[in-house]
Subunit: 526 residues, 2 copies
Amino acid sequence: MINWNNLDTLKSYDALKKVAKVNVAEVMTGESGAERVKKYSVPMAAGLSFNYAAKAVDGDVLEALKALAEEAQLSEKFEALYNGEVINTGEKRLVLHQLTRGQLGEDVTADGVNKREFYLNEQKRIAEFANKVHSGEIANAKGEKFTTVVQIGIGGSDLGPRAMYLALENWAKKTGNFKMEAKFISNVDPDDASAVLNSIDVEHSIFILVSKSGTTLETLTNESFVTDALKKAGLDQGKHMIAVTSQTSPLAKSDNYLEAFFMDDYIGGRYSSTSGVGGAVLSLAFGPDVFAQFLDGAAEEDKLAANKDVFANPAMLDALIGVYERNVLGYDSTAVLPYSQGLSRFPAHLQQLDMESNGKCVNRFGEPIDYVTGPIIFGEPGTNGQHSFYQLLHQGTDIIPLQFIGFRNSQLANDVVIQDSTSQQKLCANVAAQIVAFACGKKDENLNKNFKGGRPSSIIVGEELNPKSLGALLSHFENKVMFQGFVWNINSFDQEGVQLGKVLAKKVLAHETDGALAEYSKLLNI
Amino acid sequence: MINWNNLDTLKSYDALKKVAKVNVAEVMTGESGAERVKKYSVPMAAGLSFNYAAKAVDGDVLEALKALAEEAQLSEKFEALYNGEVINTGEKRLVLHQLTRGQLGEDVTADGVNKREFYLNEQKRIAEFANKVHSGEIANAKGEKFTTVVQIGIGGSDLGPRAMYLALENWAKKTGNFKMEAKFISNVDPDDASAVLNSIDVEHSIFILVSKSGTTLETLTNESFVTDALKKAGLDQGKHMIAVTSQTSPLAKSDNYLEAFFMDDYIGGRYSSTSGVGGAVLSLAFGPDVFAQFLDGAAEEDKLAANKDVFANPAMLDALIGVYERNVLGYDSTAVLPYSQGLSRFPAHLQQLDMESNGKCVNRFGEPIDYVTGPIIFGEPGTNGQHSFYQLLHQGTDIIPLQFIGFRNSQLANDVVIQDSTSQQKLCANVAAQIVAFACGKKDENLNKNFKGGRPSSIIVGEELNPKSLGALLSHFENKVMFQGFVWNINSFDQEGVQLGKVLAKKVLAHETDGALAEYSKLLNI
């Protein structure tokens, strides 16, 4: 029996608030710090590990977090989710993105079909399609191979797939898995579509139109840009564009598309990178085998998230520490700092995943809650960020928890030795140095050069950023966000907050405005 | 006589805290909202305007802010700055970036030269150099024209110039001002340099090495990648690379560079886009005339910042409202939301500019302060962000002030009509709609669909994103950050917070570690 209770009704939450706070600078200094780095580590999939030594936790805090996980029934709730309960209460939908990469529990039947089989079948269809494109069996009107794939989508149909593509582009080039360049059109700003179309050879491009509902205004508008460009080039859209959509959308049966691949209402946009939304573009860019490895990494990490032992469940542990920082220690934001150029857009994807899922102020029953929920998520790759906003992280007036990500090896394995070390060594030395600098600080009589320390961080470390570790990384954060939603008793799977803006924008375009909206419309010359 | 006093010693600050708070949802609804949009607007340079109707201000708050500006002597402090006082107290340096684009006050002499003349002379040298590259007078060993320019730099030598390049790339292509493609190498991650070098034709590339000190480790390491690539291609670095540095740096007199252009210690990295740091790459990419227009826009906006009437000084007003939000209303962060794909990296530049300048917890004399300073800055272009993190902005538990930017026209002027409106109209309709949605909200009995409103925002509106308006935009934010630093009585022009990480990274590379740092080094296999 699962109880969906607000966080502030839980006894374990009260108890957690009373546990003595940990002085990060103190415990991370000297031998105690070394011991913590060795001890506070959990294995993840694909050779990754989650190290939380520099977080403001100790045995007592961790035991209190474990009690919270148990009272909040995090494992039971995840089990209910993957066994097909209606977890998305607002929209009355199942939440099945984990099924796109594996099956953790019972068969889930919805809309009269076995959902795992449905997702697998779409994957297979996409793989066959991609193979035919790569072999030239599916080609342009002149029988020439496609060389570029362009994804048209926004939000979940853009940020995740784009971040994953960028994360694997160099790896694929190095390992001989690079099949086609991918480009992305998302913004309704006409300059976005125009610039991408100016930069490609339309005749050798295949386009993927991605919209679950088939009604996303930005995406349909951007389709028109492509339609026009194809027409101008004397090309047939039906030979150059495929759709990824739901079976009930207007796109599903249109003749405008060479092929349509399906997702459904049980996969939220921001959780769709492992569905056809990420599958089509990644399979075309890198081949279906690479996409399969990506799914394997995610599936393995999902299994760890199903582990009932919180200390062997990195996503749950990360989630609990995050809640502790947000609700007990009072930190409002988290910086995501990957020391890997390939992850340049990974923070933007996590920003969407986290803030759209948990930026809520009512519980899953639509009742007001009296505690803070999802933090602000922002970040840029290191070492770039070190020369930018790290000043505030080190010496600003607010404490901002940090999520580092690092890999022992680079993707392209091309390096130079300067001052007795490679670039990769410098990169890794910097992430190690930053964790300790943030945690321990350094006293200086000149307060301008003083570092208070006490800035908590964790790090996910791996051998290399490749399809499998990327899949594991993605799954980790998806599950972390899910567990935090469970703790906060909110629905992490709807996004009603995006609706009002859409309604008002339509009014502006229909010139049905008054008051401030009419004046802003004038100001912007609409 | 200027008094540098802490914010919490000012009477006007106490008075400000006591002024009745404005209910944004209330005042922005109905006729009152329309009136505010018309009234709360200040002209900026280059046809821009700063509209703060949706901020939590009214006549009383504005009067109190004006009193704060006067007591904090913001105009006098800016005057002292541009007349050459040592404003950067930590490093005992003048702050002269405004002189790279104009002269607001007296002649400033330092290091025995007139600084305005020095900067102008470097600009002229860069312009002549760029013209020779474009004409082919300066060419590769085979006498062929260079087609690509690659900037090697990090932090201030990367983010600003890169954001400005991306902001003008499409405009330049449309208007016939596009001379060369620009690429950027910044991260010490070897994958960054490798990927850029793999993507270019080295034989037809000219490289700009940017480091004020000539000792930035990332930049020197990345130079080596380029040196190797040039050697492998049988090319002479002395014909392919220029330096932008200070006259005292080791790069200044090296034979490794075709030419060296100079900046100095009075221009902080994050304020260097209008110096040679931005000048070389932008003049090569778009021509010196375009760079000159960019400087004109910044100079015009600087003049407005020198205006002693706060209501005709958009940067000062914006700064004061920001301080009110941070210190009185208690909001911790600001989202920067440009509705222009060209400004895709502008938020990342502002993140550096603001967080590195004002992320400080001691005053300009190195004494502790007892109030919060610089906020977290993050953002992505709209409408993309609407499908990502806006959920939290609308319905999250924290209020996050918003800085919108919008233009009435697109850059490429290529558009389609769908559902009776162009993409550009949809883009502008969305920004208008979002401002009102955030401000006014919308009641719904289903709390999950309820919007509380009361989310304050301002918008900078312009005709078009072009060199002049971009220069004005950049200057606005540089001056806003400066004024906020004055209010907080901090030094916005040093960055001691980046030092400790550097020191510890060197220890890691020298294997001089113990405790946690030694363990993290092992974990990362250094």
